[in-house]
Amino acid sequence: MDRFRFVLYRPLQLLPVLLGISIITFVLIRSIPGDPARLLLGTKSTPEAIARIRAQFGLDEPLWVQYLYFLKNLFNGEMGTSILYRIDVVRLIGERIGPTLSLVLGSVILAIAIAVPLATAAARNRGSLIDHTIRIISTAGLGFPAFWLGIMLIILFSVKFDMFPVSGYGDGFADRLHHMVLPCLTVALALSAVLTRNLRASMIAELSSDHATAARARGLPEGMVFWRHVLPNSLVPTINLLAVNIGWLIGGTVVVETVFSLPGMGQLLVRGIFTRDYMVVQGVAMAFACAAVLINFLADILTAAADPRVKI
């Protein structure tokens, strides 16, 4: 019953958040100096041409009228038409969502695949050479900016060894997978540094917890104590950390998509900002906001599934 209500009501809480985001992005993008029509027409711009474009996209209306139009469109599931691409923003996002989604999903899976074994090795051999090495590497990993790491990976694996493509999205499943390896690795390395440190700390706490001692007192060998009791308990706080970081990671895709020339939403956003393509910027920002809220919603469900004490 509780769960049912949660699943029902939680999306409703999304509404005020989205309303706030819509106002903020609407105001922010319009407060950057520069006129989309003038930027679009460039040197060929004449006052008449500019006026025509402004009228076409409703930019000559007062700001509050423009905002109401934007809201009205949103309720109809529309986000206006891109000034630059001259197509529907929803369709545009639909075309660009693939690379971003694969980037986020791929990075998260890869980051977990890196963090769990590393944290396990460090926590179970606490104070040993392995532990210190892993700690140093993960601390260093926190310090590297994503774009720098990406460029280094390109230099190493693409330029030097010619193992992976330098940039682009590729065609067909296998080719795309091949193209996604380096971008995902770039994001995953940064993310796994945070995850490893956090997971190691909670594993160490769980290893000396009372219930682990009780499991040993039952005669369970150390390995079983770890996999059955320590790991499941230490994953609980990590789920939330992951959710927080995915929010940050969505922002990070902007940089990584630019470094690897991936035709995703991050890239779309950057180009939209440079050309003052208001509709595109608003649309992508709304989509990112929805994604962030959705991910937190999923994390809450996952946490409740992993920890029966959590009431949702």
């Binding site: 001692t213 009780a214 039952r218 005669g219 004490r309």
Partner: protein, 331 residues
């Protein structure tokens, strides 16, 4: 008489921290016969829990270690036993009930599965057999509706039910020895009485030996056969329950008895032993109880008394009362 099931001789445990060593438990000896309930009493910090953890070889290895002595269990010395050997003893031949059942149950695993874990491990049961046996065990310790309750998580149990589940867990593989570390401290009086009755019943039915750790001499009077009193990491008196409670020798034991609520009910308030129990980093010289002892003499400050047998099986470590009693008995 045959050899006791458990015989601890001169067990010492030290803490090591930053290269410094502290004696936490010193030359503790006691034994438990088959079917015997031994009460281990003493103030907080006297080393009861640490002694019992050592017995299971479950001391936190980063901070504590056994520095001497023997733990003979069914003819084996557990101090030198291999880790693999210990795994076959823990849970299978020695069960343990912990001081705080709430934290000693895995919060994210169903109660039934936690109990089933040892059944599968030690008795090689199939998961289905283990499930059936788990429900039977929960029924035996008095959990109502065990079929359904086995699927509950620990937080869905009340404190008393958690302690019962803990007992079911500890007894799952029919161990010969049960260590119960303050099994009733966190519970209200009626539940406390039920749990203690359950333990006595198990002893009567199965011939289980029990080490019952407690603060409460009332509990000892109700349930135990013999008592060992610990003070500041040492045993100061031990013997048959009747002898120790009726004719305590060590001034500390006398004070403990005087501090029991029932004895002081008329006085209207609970007397307590003046002063604080000492900590391992500042053990007093000589007899560790001397700073709080009314009967202390000069000798108590300088030399630690040895345990002296005053009557069959009743021993005490006191410079003042033990020789006096010996003289009485001789007269």
């Amino acid at each position: 008489m045959s050899a006791p099931l458990l015989d601890i001789r001169d067990l010492s445990i030290e803490a090591h921290k930053d290269g410094e060593r502290l004696g936490i438990v010193e030359r503790v000896s006691f034994s438990v016969a088959t079917g015997e309930i031994l009460g281990l009493v003493g103030e907080s910090g006297s080393g009861k829990t640490v002694t019992c953890r050592a017995l299971m070889r479950l001391l936190p290895t980063r901070s504590l270690r056994i520095s001497g002595g023997k733990i003979e269990f069914a003819g084996r010395n557990l101090v030198t036993a291999s880790e693999a050997e210990m795994r076959h003893i823990r849970g299978a031949r020695i069960g343990m009930i912990f001081q705080n059942p709430a934290s000693h149950l895995d919060p994210v695993m169903r109660i039934g599965r936690q109990i089933g874990e040892s059944l599968v491990l030690h008795l090689q049961m199939s998961p289905r057999e283990a499930k059936a046996q788990t429900i039977e065990l929960l029924r035996q310790v008095g959990i109502p509706d065990p079929q359904r309750r086995a699927d509950d998580f620990p937080h869905q149990f009340s404190g008393g039910m958690r302690q019962r589940a803990m007992i079911a867990l500890a007894l799952a593989c029919s161990p010969e020895l049960l260590i119960a570390d303050e099994p009733t401290t966190a519970l209200d009086v009626t539940v406390q009485a039920q749990i203690l009755r359950l333990l006595v019943e198990l002893r009567d039915k199965r011939g289980l030996s029990i080490i019952l750790i407690t603060h409460d001499l009332g509990v000892v009077a109700q349930t135990c056969d013999s008592v060992a009193v610990m003070y500041a990491g040492r045993i100061c008196e031990k013997g048959p329950k009747r002898d120790v409670l009726a004719e305590p020798l060590h001034p500390y034991t006398s004070r403990l008895i005087a501090c029991q609520p029932s004895a002081s009910a008329e006085a209207g308030l609970l007397p307590s032993i003046p002063g604080q129990p000492p900590s391992p980093s500042a053990w007093p010289s000589g007899c560790r109880f001397h700073p709080r002892c009314e009967r202390a003499i000069g000798l108590c400050r300088s030399s630690a008394p040895e345990l002296v047998t005053v009557r069959s099986n009743h021993v005490a470590a006191c410079h003042v009362t033990a020789p006096a009693r010996l003289a009485d008995e001789a007269a």
